[in-house]
Structure formats: C-alpha cells, structure tokens
C-alpha cells in the first residue's frame, strides 16, 4: 500500500485471490471503501491484510449459505441460521442465538446479505474479544474508547458489505 491508500490494482488482486473477480467493478469498490471511511483505515487501525482476510471469508460464508439454501430462494430459515452459525464454528448459548435471531429474522427468513452482516459481526467481535481475553478466561475487560473504536470499525465494514449490495452475489 502506498501512502496509506488502497489502489485499484491492490483491490483487483484482492478480488482475484478470493475467486470472485469480475463480479464487482474495482472502481465501484474503491468508491464504497471511501464512502465507508475505510480507505484511511487500510494502513491504520484495520490494515489491508485484515480486509483481504475478510473478503476471503466472504466466499466461505457464501458456501455455507448456499448449502443451507436448499430451495435456492436466496434466503434461509431461522433454524438453518442457527445451524449455519454453528457450522462456521461458533458455539453459542440459546440466549445469544435468540438475540441474533431477533436481529436478523424477517418473517422467519434471512437473506444472504443479512447473513453476511451477521457473520462479519461475529467474526470481528470474536476477534476483539480474544485480543482482550489473553488468558482465555471467557471474560475480558474493555475500556470505553477501545469498545468504541472496535465498534466504529465494525460499523464501517458492515456498511461496506451493505453498499456492495450482496443480493446478487
């Protein structure tokens, strides 16, 4: 990355690596990155590598989603969301799952872009938590500024995927 900004070429490489090049115009993605205030983050708090990993994770999420969307409707059912989350490696209590279900279930069905939104959050939040819970006690101390910064980054990333309009992915 030169001078802390992602170039269109770097983005193209990222897209190609994740196997979905051609689906998005790289110029549009740069615009979206900019609109979500992510351009500046690439050499700062978030980093381009983290972004690349996130983009690769998108393919894995698509695979999981498709395997549960048996009727090819572009949506999965509440129960299937729970199973999908477990498939992704998250072992959550019924209460935590309920919280997530409430947030995403639209008449009992969850479209792909909401599934991505959920997965992005789970991934980022789990990562934040692990970084603070260094002795793996299951509890961690957070300071307001720290939570806020993580939260703002997560928000911007979530908006990024939202604006990419993944319904057609």
């Amino acid at each position: 990355i030169q001078d802390g900004q992602i170039t269109a070429d770097e983005l193209q490489a990222c897209l190609t690596q994740s196997g979905i090049s051609g689906t998005y115009k790289r110029e549009n993605m740069l615009e979206v990155l900019d609109r979500c205030c992510l351009q500046r983050d690439m050499s700062g708090t978030m980093g381009f590598n983290e972004f690349k990993e996130l983009w690769q994770a998108l393919n894995a999420w698509k695979g999981t989603f498709v395997s549960f969307d048996r009727d090819h409707s572009g949506t999965i059912e509440g129960q299937e969301l729970q199973q999908a989350i477990r498939t992704l490696g998250y072992n959550l209590s019924p209460q935590a799952m309920n919280c997530i279900m409430k947030r995403y279930s639209n008449h009992g069905r969850i479209p792909f872009d909401d599934f991505v939104s959920c997965s992005v959050r789970l991934r980022a939040l789990t990562d934040h938590f692990r970084r603070r819970d260094t002795n793996q006690s299951g509890n961690a101390l957070f300071q307001y500024d720290d939570v806020s910064l993580n939260f703002f980054n997560l928000l911007n990333i979530t908006f990024f995927f939202f604006f990419l309009n993944l319904k057609n992915f």
Binding site: D34, R40, Q95, I100, A140, D145, F151, L155
Partner: protein, 185 residues
C-alpha cells in the same frame, strides 16, 4: 474518568409546523407519489452542504427511526417526526458551527458533545472525526455529524448498562460482549 454525565436535551425553540406546509414538502419529496418517502427520495431532498449526496447511512438511520411499519420508508404521519428531527439537528449544527464554515471541526465537535453531556478524551475526538468524516477534510459535514451523534448515543447507552460504577471500564463475558454490540446496531 467518566465519558458521559446525565444528558440534557438542547432546548427546542420551533413551534410545531403547519400541516399544509408539511404536506407541501412531503409531496415534493415523494417524487413517485407512492405516499411513502423512500430512502433515496429522502436522500435527494437533503443537503449536507458539500454538493455530494447526503450520507445514505444517515438516511437509513433516520428512516428506520420513524418507520413504524418496517416498510422501508415513511408515510405522511411519520414524516412530521422526520421533519422535526432534521430541523432540530439543523439548529444544533448551526449552533456549534461557530465559524459558519458549514463543517464542524474537532474543537466545535468537542463543544457540541460536551454540551450533550459527554466527557471524552481529546484523542477520542480525533477518532470520531477519522471514523465519520467522509469528506476527508478533518471536519464533519452535516450528515456525518448526525451519524456520529446517533452512533455515539447508541453505543454509550448500551455501554452504560454494563458500566455500573461509571468508570469507563466494563468486564464482560464473550456472549455479553456479543449481545452488547448486536444490540447497538
């Protein structure tokens, strides 16, 4: 180190608007005459003073605040709330944009948020500008200012529920952390 003291809403000076006045505005904004103002219609009607489109995320936040039927837009009844909400923010923005630049810089942002009851570190204000300023000017335009305040309020409300001794620190389990952030947005 507190980050928030009891919030006192800024005094509201506008008289409620005339119904026909609101209806005129509604009709102009509802371009396709569907009876519902969509995200894109509202976005087109609003200005952030920069000749670039109004922040679509801010538009989404505002619509979802007043859309009681989850229809993805606001009808005329709900629009009254939207109108008042935006007018209030315009007044607040004008109040704190002391140099009338059309932008709120770091110092003006400090004044505004301190006025709302926040007690934040100087470094944090830098973070806010960095994360919310889409114009890349080191200052926030009207739409980004609103978005910043909305997010900050939601975050702080949820954080405070866990921060019982109000020292700016919380200790949470993994799942508490998850549900905390899932509840914010």
């Amino acid at each position: 180190m507190a980050y928030h003291s009891p919030y006192r809403a800024p005094p509201h000076i506008n008289a409620p608007p005339d119904q026909s006045f609101l209806w005129n505005i509604f009709q102009r904004v509802d371009k396709d005459r569907s009876g519902v103002i969509s995200d894109s219609e509202l976005q087109q009607a609003l200005s952030n003073g920069t000749w670039t489109p109004f922040n679509p995320v801010t538009v989404r936040s505002i619509i979802s605040m007043f859309d009681r039927e989850n229809k993805g837009g606001v009808n005329f009844n709900e629009f009254a709330g939207v109108w008042k909400y935006i007018t209030d923010w315009q007044n607040i923005f004008r109040t704190y944009d002391r140099d009338n630049s059309g932008f709120i810089d770091k110092n003006e942002l400090k004044q505004a948020l301190t006025g709302f009851g926040y007690r934040l570190s100087d470094q944090f204000y830098g973070t806010l500008i960095d994360k919310f300023d889409r114009q890349r000017k080191g200052q926030v335009a009207f739409d980004d200012f609103i978005q910043c305040c909305i997010v900050l309020q939601r975050l702080t409300d949820v954080f405070r529920r866990y921060d019982t001794d109000q020292d700016g620190w919380i200790q949470v389990s993994y799942e508490q952390y998850l549900s905390m952030v899932f509840n914010i947005v």
